[in-house]
């Protein structure tokens, strides 16, 4: 590690200490450092999740003209810790009629599925990513879909009707929305030309663009499906508290319940991270590379990681914002949106993106317009190519919306605005004045 500011000295110190301890460089590079990274990431994510709940409570409080947690610590900052302690020390209660083993393990599956994904998330360049798998995105999708299993198992094993309904809803919902989520990602991949998450970010960084500009439709589809996939409002049907009490985790309490809670927030962070990585440029931010050029490598990595966290928080805020603003969909409406809107939209998006990539390539090959710079890090476009692609992206968004409206315009839910009625005001003449009248009450049959 080269010249670095004082606050990064510990990293170098640990490195030299490990060498002094007599560990081989391979062991240090492939065992010790990854373990340290995993420890850091798990800690950061756990704290993030805890303070995510705090932020959500504060944000919802400000939206609702109240203060939120204020009692534990200054501005209630220690509230998540107090909550965590409370949940950890509660009785570990398993209902008598529950399927004990499945009930026991379901929360662990949920948490594991949510946390494993963090191993491939590129928090920043170089050492800020635990491992860069060349099928990273595929791994994210496949591992996070295991989370559904936890919900179904929890719903089934609780042996409660509310839990069962919640589990059924979640299985249907998550299976349907994973389809559109996966399809939405394909559009972005056509530009990145790699499944490696770091590769996707490098592609955007070397092109100095965010793929959301090329893929507005894909980004929207991904976000909506992501929110639905996470069971968050307005798609929080599996745990709709007003209908199913608490859905799949009705029978859970204490520590096990908090695991589900953690899994939910971790899954939210995952989806926000993927959205950031694929569409919002990941850790890439203009001019940050100048730090690297100035020789401050570690500072560059850390600033990039902060950029990533800030972008992630913005997406996460969207979750909170939606949750505290919108009412909840009904089960059948949810399925309608998934199958009648999002999946066709994702398919149209794939075809149209492929078409626009073809157009750009044809323009370049026909030497009409120099559009493609090089293809070593994904599809790098020139200024003209970028403009063409952005215009195509907007056209794609409008086209997708237009086509789907055409298909769905007869459906009941599409025409709701026109179904919205105004009520009549009837002016009825009033009866006899009752003020100061001593008219007795109507007496049906006087005794």
């Amino acid at each position: 590690m080269n010249a670095c500011p004082l606050f990064l000295a510990p990293l170098n110190f640990i490195d030299s200490l490990l060498v002094k301890l007599g560990l081989a460089p391979e062991t240090i590079n492939y065992v010790v450092w990854p373990l340290i990274q995993i420890g850091v990431v798990v800690t950061v994510v756990a704290v993030w999740v805890a303070y995510g709940t705090y932020l959500e409570r504060k944000i919802s409080a400000f939206m609702q003209a109240r203060l939120g947690p204020m009692r534990v610590g200054p501005w209630g900052l220690l509230q998540p810790i107090a909550d965590g302690l409370k949940l950890l020390t509660k009785e570990d209660f398993i209902p008598e009629k529950a399927d004990r083993w499945i009930f026991f393990f379901a929360p662990y599956i949920a948490v594991a599925a949510a946390f494993i994904v963090f191993s491939v998330i590129p928090f920043g360049p170089d050492w800020a990513v635990i491992t860069d798998v060349n099928i990273g995105l595929l791994l994210v999708i496949s591992v996070s879909s295991v989370g559904v299993l936890a919900l179904i198992l929890a719903g089934w094993s609780s042996n409660s009707k509310y839990s069962l309904l919640g589990g059924l809803r979640s299985s249907a919902q998550m299976v349907s929305y994973e389809v559109s989520m996966g399809l939405a990602l394909i559009g972005g991949l056509m530009f990145a030309r790699t499944l490696s998450l770091s590769g996707i970010v490098t592609g955007q960084a070397s092109d100095s663009i965010w793929y959301v500009l090329y893929q507005p439709a894909g980004f929207l589809i991904f976000l909506i499906s992501g929110i639905a996939e996470n069971n968050r409002a307005p798609f929080d049907l599996p745990e709709a508290e007003s209908e199913l009490v608490a859905g799949f985790h009705t029978e859970y309490s204490g520590f096990r319940w908090s695991l589900f809670f953690m899994a939910e927030y971790a899954a939210m962070v995952v989806v926000s991270a993927i959205a950031t990585t694929l569409y919002l440029g990941g850790w890439y931010f203009p001019f940050v590379y100048k730090l690297e050029a100035a020789g401050l490598h570690n500072a560059y990595v850390i600033v990039s990681a902060l950029v990533f966290l800030i972008k992630l928080s913005v997406v996460l805020y969207l979750y909170f914002w939606l949750r505290w603003t919108l009412p909840r969909f009904r089960y059948d409406q949810l399925m309608d949106i998934g199958w009648k809107w999002l999946i066709p939209a994702a398919l149209i998006n794939i075809v149209f993106t492929a078409f626009s990539v073809f157009v750009v390539q044809a323009l370049d090959a026909g030497q009409v317009l120099k559009t493609i710079e090089d293809t070593s890090h994904g599809l790098n476009l020139t200024g003209a190519g970028k403009i063409v692609m952005i215009v195509m992206g907007i056209v794609g968004l409008l086209l997708t919306g237009g086509l789907l409206s055409l298909v769905n315009w007869r459906s009941r839910d599409f025409n709701l605005k026109s179904q919205r009625r105004n009520i009549r005001l009837v002016s009825v003449p009033s009866g006899v004045s009752a003020v100061n009248s001593t008219k007795p009450a109507t007496a049906p049959n006087e005794v």
Binding site: P327, R421, L425, T442
Partner: protein, 377 residues
Amino acid sequence: MHQVEIATTQETLLDSPEMVLNMGPQHPSTHGVLRVVLKLDGETVIDLDCDIGYLHRGMEKIAENRQYPMIAPYWDRLDYIAAVSNGLVWVETVEQVMGLDVPARAHYLRTILTELNRIASHLLWLATHALDIGAVTVLLWALREREEILKIFERQFGARLTCHAWRIGGMTNDAYDDFDVDVRRFVNNFPKRLDEYETVLSENRIWLSRTVGIGVISAEDAVAIGLSGPALRGSGLAWDVRKSRPYAAYADMDFDIPVGENGDTFDRYLVRLEEMRQSRRIIQQAIDGLPDGPVSAKLPKVVKPPAGDYYHSIEAPKGEIGCYLVSDGSAHPYRVRVRPPSFVNLQALRQMCIGHLVADVVAIIGTLDIVLGEIDR
């Protein structure tokens, strides 16, 4: 428990046995201790039955052992959300039986305060109804406005919820000093707040898709069941006790009756919102035309209505609340029977819910605006 009917008109999928889901009495959105037994095919409701009585306190029987003025506080506990209106039906019944000459100022104050109570009740309905459908923020916004009304109640009656607002013959106290100011401030601020709710809900696609066409009840069925209040007006009938048999100072007030068309949840929602606007109009007129004078009639030492059967009803926020009184000429009523609007309105639940999904049952319970204290008495 009532037996859920086995014979159904709808065939279940794959002949699988239906699932019977017991919703309540401990359930977050049955608005108290209502127990609903649902028979489900998947998530579709094919039959349901209500089980009530978990909050039975024997109010009507207690009333037989109390002197007439002592009964009023019990009536506050029927529909504790609209205690002021409920108190009014009792004192007005006795006043009319006795032929008491209640001063105009008392009538006007009663009008103002019951209308404030109507707004408070509708706000709580809006809050819980929106919460049931998943819009959490509206809950706290509506409670914020309700708080202002409760503060007026606290200053006037000394209590926020169960106020014991009225006495037979009028009121114990005149309006407090700043009553006029407080009420006017509320009246001026309220329309803006109401528009906020409309922005969040009425224009919201999800809200529309959750309420339009849900829990439809036709005008004929509504009359056959005996619905009253906004539940009846949502189906298109302009019937309001404040207009048809005016009491207090309503005959002097100029207001309209909002009426829906389709009788679905969305219409009832609009009707209640408009009712809040009309209530505001009434309060405005009443506070402008508030006469001076005493607030209580001259009363005999012991209230002893002449023997006979009497019925009097007023328009409570939930519908027509009636009081059937059998007097034997003594200081205690021989028998009192309350016609609770929530109880009658709840009878429409089965008809409204069948064929809808579980999520709609919650929405329909919300739109009926029931209070279990009134249903079970």
